[in-house]
Amino acid sequence: MKLRAEKRIDSPAWMTVVVTLASVCLAFVAGGVFLYLQGVSPLTAYRMILRSAFGSVYDLSETAVRALPLATVSLAVMLCFTMLIWNIGAEGQAFIGALTAAAVVRYFPMEDRLAMLSLMALAAAVAGGFWAGVAGVLKAKWNVSEIISTLMLNYIAIRLLEHFVYGPWRDPSSLGFPMTRPFIPQARLPQLWGTRIHMGLYGLLILSAFMWLALKKTRWGYEIRIMGSNARAAHYAGMNYARSVVLVMFLSGAIAGIAGMCEVSGLQGRLQAGFSAQYGYTAIIVAWLSHLNPPLSLLVAFLIGALLVGGEALQIGMGLPLASVQILQGLILFFVLGGEFFYNYRVRLDFGRPGFGGER
């Protein structure tokens, strides 16, 4: 008797949904077992995550606060992933965006809020885009692996930001904390409805609709999808791969840069070391779980944001390290990745006759 895998001729859409949901459930079960073995009651922990993320209007708003940068950055990486470019440098691009925005506030303070914010956003977008565009040019011109180059650029960006907040830009009254002076009020994105959700939300909603439209309905989006599906067919259709790589990377970096700017301008009000809770990496989960679908990524970002809020609750309520919820994030990805096999292949038991199942 042997396990045997056959490629599916047709994989129905409901299958994707069912398998993804089942994978996520399994991940929570596995995570529960893990927590239990660590002497943590999984039920208590999960209940705490749920309550802290969805328990009240305030909790919901806090979840949304986490989801905002996540969703924005996930749109950025989604754009690249659609074209099969592995931009895992959104973290660094967000850092550069935040850094540039802070530089603008520091060196070109303005009286007019709209002008100030526009300039900040523009600078963040250009700088973030440039940061990613470098990797794009390296890829387009010399076929340098964008995985490594964007990753390295992350660290360079993080160090660059550290250099400024530990050094020349450090607020003398910060008691030695690595942070800048608070931004002037004109440089703060207004917050909404008395919560910490900032105006970036509107931008995000518009961006995700725009992105959906661009990817699904325009010639440009069509080109990107074709290039992600088969680069040689794209060449055959007269598409310019090299130029698109640079452009897509630039746009992706620009979006990530704006996400970074929104985070400092809308939420923290100053630039500080480690301002991002690894949103750049977590956003990759969001993009993957939402199957590169912009509107869906909003929902997924909200759920992952709930996990992040839950992590803080676990830290306060149960004394667990903040990073504990990363176990769940990792497991969800493991199971979803594993689950993909089951809608691409049909697995069946084979009796008697020799055969081989996949590569096992």
Binding site: S145, I147, S149, T282, I285, W288, Q326, G338, G358, E359
Partner: protein, 309 residues
């Protein structure tokens, strides 16, 4: 002179965990599997090494445990990327998160404790050599073992049958399969072994270098190792060079901090990353056949036999 020697010796020491991780990843990538989860695996190695050392009082058992845990994590990666053909980039990220989270959760009781660790010893005669002796031969046993590992891996790749099989599987799995090599089994083996070495690198930090446990104490060394593999163009000797170079920058920077100089250390810390990009660029531009050929051609691509094109 004295400072130079001590900085160089420190460079070797702080380069060693990166070296182990880099060698592990070279082993894995040579067979065509890309494991980007080094950071997570190193952290799990660091935690399990420390935990076992602490509870048994035997640091050797700690190192062994780290190796074992690393292999288990490698098994997960191999299962998803080799058997299920899952995306290796995403799987590596998942591993990074899982490892970071799990080590933080499990290690929460170990914070603030210290262990005796493993003390260094000088190798007679060799340690008396000028400069080289103090730098390379007055270290600890894991450093010496890493020297041996570099040589062993190099010979393994170039002169042995399994080493050649490994390269064939990473280069052209279809051909290797047609020649009767068990592609999946070979990929499993070296993904698992490689992850074991990576975890050992993590354990070196907690058991020998720092002798305490702290959350995310590897501080990005796993990602550095990923880059070092390319820096080293998959050559173990160049991996050592890269790891020590990085360790040197780290040691130098610590020294500067201690001396209270005003040279901006974050900028200094950027150097290895900038260097990696430049090396990568150099490899890609200089289409010097010899260099570009050392990249495993089938890296990151899953292999299933019965698919027809």
């Amino acid at each position: 002179m004295e400072t130079l020697v001590s900085i160089l010796a420190a460079a070797v020491r702080s380069g060693t965990p990166i070296l182990y991780a880099t060698l592990g990843e070279i082993l894995t990538e040579k067979c065509g599997v890309m494991n980007l989860g080094l950071e997570g695996i190193m952290l799990m190695g660091a935690f399990s090494g420390f935990f076992v050392s602490l509870s048994t009082g035997n640091p050797w058992l700690g190192l062994a445990a780290a190796f074992g845990v690393g292999m288990c994590l490698g098994l997960i990666h191999a299962f998803i990327s080799v058997s299920l053909g899952g995306n290796q980039v995403v799987c590596g990220l998942a591993m990074t998160m899982f490892g970071g989270g799990a080590s933080a959760l499990m290690g929460r009781g170990c914070i603030g404790m210290t262990i005796r660790g493993i003390d260094g010893f000088s190798i007679p005669w060799f340690s008396e050599l000028p400069l080289v002796g103090r730098v390379f031969f007055s270290q600890d046993v894991m450093v010496y073992a890493s020297y041996a590992l570099v040589v062993v891996l190099y010979c393994f790749f170039t002169a042995t049958r399994p080493g050649m099989n490994l390269r064939a599987v990473g280069e052209n799995p279809k051909a290797a399969d047609a020649m009767g090599l068990p592609v999946a089994r070979i990929r499993y083996l070296y993904t698992v072994l490689g992850a074991g070495l990576v975890a050992l690198g993590g354990a070196y930090i907690s058991v020998i270098y720092n002798r305490f446990w702290a959350e995310s104490m590897t501080a990005g060394r796993g990602w550095i190792a990923v880059a070092m593999v390319i820096f080293a163009v998959w050559n173990p000797f160049q991996a050592a060079l890269g790891a020590y170079l990085f360790g040197g920058v780290e040691a130098f920077q610590l020294r500067l901090q201690a001396a209270g100089t005003s040279v901006p250390t974050p900028l200094l810390m950027m150097l290895p990353y900038v260097m990696t990009i430049l090396v990568l660029l150099f490899i890609s531009i200089g289409k010097g056949r010899r260099v570009s050929l050392s990249a495993p051609a089938a890296l990151g691509a899953p292999f299933h036999r019965e698919e027809r094109e």
